[in-house]
């Protein structure tokens, strides 16, 4: 196991990981109607076309509503479950927590199909709300994983100290617990927002006639002429995701610093 050889392999692997993302802006700014080499020249036409596509704006709005609702809902549900799981011992705990975490190990198509079948059988119409429900289902496990980290990093005697010093359990939550898990809450909001914004399968099955951004994108992939515009859109989305991710990472590290803990890796 030579360090030098491994280092080269690692760099090649990073190229493999980043290849698609690097291509994205290349074609987004490429003055040619086909997505192929050689590149033609620089243009901003594709970005301008984004501004003049109402269907895209509608899909974006849908996606934003869904992503924000999902983030808030998942984080709230995640808070309850993470708090219960880290703080209390109760009967059937592994079963209950395991079941809530189940979507993490269930192929998304299964979640999508079962929700769709129930909606159809119940005669409920598909809407933004069905997507929010589906997205919340798959985001809650992520929220729990992040928040569980924050809760278990927190010394339990901090809350006891607050109660001992005269605060009620409720004011203790506001004065001590909440500020200390706040970095986790923000990270959870950001991660759930990102997952929901990017999620395709559930949205595809449950969207009805209110497409999300990925569903709209999927529809556009069939039209070769629209591809450069998609590349432009993709560039913006990737930029946004990376920005959000860096923010989330910033908050996570700050949380660790506050709790005086060593950094032990990323989110997953």
């Amino acid at each position: 196991m030579k360090g030098r050889g491994l280092h080269i392999y690692a760099l090649v692997y990073l190229v493999f990981l980043y290849a698609p993302i690097v291509l994205l802006p290349l074609f987004a700014f490429n003055d040619g109607t086909t997505i192929a080499f050689p590149l033609q020249g620089f243009t901003l036409d594709w970005f301008r076309a984004l501004v003049t596509t109402p269907a895209l704006h509608e899909a974006t709005l849908n996606s934003l509503i869904i992503a924000i609702s999902t983030a808030v809902l998942s984080t709230c549900l995640g808070l309850f479950a993470a708090r219960a799981a880290t703080r209390y011992r109760f009967p059937a705990k592994p079963v209950i927590v395991g079941f809530i975490m189940l979507p993490l190990v269930l192929p998304e198509i299964i979640v999508a199909i079962s929700l769709l079948v129930v909606m159809l059988q119940l005669g409920l119409s598909l809407s933004i709300w069905t997507i929010i429900a589906g997205h919340t289902l798959i985001c809650v496990p992520f929220a729990i994983a992040i928040l569980q980290g924050s809760f278990s990093n927190m010394d339990r005697s901090l809350e006891e100290a607050s109660v001992d010093l005269g605060e009620t359990p409720l004011t203790t939550f506001r004065l001590v617990t909440l500020p200390l898990v706040m970095p986790g809450i923000i990270a959870s909001l950001l991660i759930c927002f990102t997952i929901s914004l990017d999620e395709f399968i559930i949205a595809f099955f449950l969207s009805g006639n209110e497409p999300t951004l990925p569903v709209y994108l999927w529809g556009q992939l069939r039209f070769p002429a629209r591809l450069p515009v998609i590349m432009a859109l993709g560039t913006i989305l990737v930029g946004l995701s990376v920005g959000l991710l860096i923010t989330a990472e910033f908050f996570r590290r700050r949380g660790l610093r506050r709790a005086g803990l060593p950094d032990s890796g990323g989110f997953l």
């Binding site: 010394d155 901090l158 607050s162 010093l165 009620t168």
Partner: protein, 366 residues
């Protein structure tokens, strides 16, 4: 030592039991803790001392019995409404607040003005030797400083009882010794009852007015340090506090408050009845002897009661030397501690020796 008249009890424990499911953590604790007393709960881990402390603070519901705090039954009173404050083992310094905000945390509802609060915080910090540290971030403090902040934070509320859960266990040896004397000074200064939980018998002996030794959820002995050391109530207490030698003994007779005992290796001894904490029925028993109550006799020295033996092991500590000696006719070794004074030799392994002993230093377990 405080004066002999017992102080007014501030805490009364009556038949306190605590179950965790099937586990019987506290098995009938009865005790009175006096006003202004420095009281220690001492025992090995898992003996229930921390559970008892947390029950007094209100963090654990007790299964049966009563805890009276200044005459009031604490059943159903949550920790935030009990006149007790706690110094946690981890210190539990709020990492998101400054030192001053930590110390002033409990004053939020005290109805003080900001200036008054700031003055109280300043005084509390001054008292623990951290004057001027108020603006520091909590996570930038050293272990000893955290401990002082925790103390100031609890004492600023003027509790009737201060509870300390192994507060010195996270500190290094030197810092621990410094904090031990500082805690005693603080306790005398504020005059508040301190209840200290510790597994360190030396710490308990140094600091306490009285100590409750706990094993398996029960108080094995409750006594001032000197009594605890000199007259342990059981072999187990004797073993737990300091070092103790045990030799089998035969209880011959009891007459006019004196006990006649035959100890193989030492000979016959006459003991006061008070030297035997339990019943003293004639028959087999055991005597306990501290290492320092046996003395190695060097050339030319003699004593009233002398027992011959052989040095089996020598352990040299610098200031002291510990000898394991097998007395003639004794079934097991005894350990003897000798101060290394100028001109006094250190014996070698295998040398024959003579030990002087005194029946007044013995404890008899029936």
């Amino acid at each position: 030592m405080k004066d002999k008249t017992p102080p007014r009890p501030i805490i009364t424990l009556e038949g306190v039991h605590k179950y965790y499911g099937d586990y019987h953590a506290l098995r009938g604790i009865d005790a009175e803790i006096g006003e202004g007393e420095f009281f220690s709960l001492l025992g090995p881990s898992g003996c229930g001392k921390t559970t008892l402390l947390r029950a007094i603070a209100g963090f654990e519901d007790i299964s049966s019995g009563r805890i009276l705090l200044d005459g009031t039954d604490m059943e159903g009173v949550p920790p935030n409404r009990r006149p007790t404050n706690m110094v946690f083992q981890s210190y539990a310094i709020f990492p998101h607040l400054s030192v001053a905000e930590n110390v002033g945390f409990g004053l939020r509802k005290a109805g003080m003005g900001n200036a008054e609060k700031a003055r109280a915080v300043g005084e509390a910090l001054e008292m623990v030797g951290l004057g001027g540290y108020g603006d520091r971030a909590a996570h930038a403090l050293s272990g000893g400083q955290r401990q002082r902040v925790a103390l100031a934070r609890a004492l600023i509320l003027k509790p009737k009882v201060l509870l300390l859960d192994e507060p010195l266990s996270a500190l290094d040896k030197k810092m621990r010794e410094q904090m031990q004397s500082e805690l005693r000074r603080l306790q005398r200064q504020v005059g508040i009852t301190f209840i200290l939980v510790t597994h360190d018998q030396e710490e308990a002996l140094i600091m306490s007015d009285r100590i409750a030794v706990m094993f398996e959820g029960e108080i094995a002995q409750l006594a001032p340090p000197q009594e605890l050391y000199r007259r342990p109530a059981s072999r187990r207490v004797g073993e737990f506090i300091g070092m103790m030698n045990f030799l089998p003994a035969t209880i011959m007779s009891e007459a006019s408050g004196k006990l006649q005992v035959e100890v193989p290796g030492l000979g016959k001894a006459e003991l006061e009845r008070a030297q035997c904490p339990g019943p003293a029925n004639p028959g087999p028993g055991e005597i306990g002897l501290r290492p320092e109550s046996l003395t190695v006799l060097f050339d030319g020295q003699d004593a009233e009661r002398v027992a011959p033996g052989k040095v089996e092991e020598v352990t040299y500590y610098g200031d002291m030397t510990y000898y394991d000696v097998r007395l003639e006719g004794a079934p097991n070794n005894v350990t003897v501690s000798m101060r290394n004074m100028p001109g006094r030799p250190v014996l070698a392994r295998g040398e024959a020796t003579k030990l002087a002993w005194d029946a007044r230093a013995m404890v008899l377990f029936g």
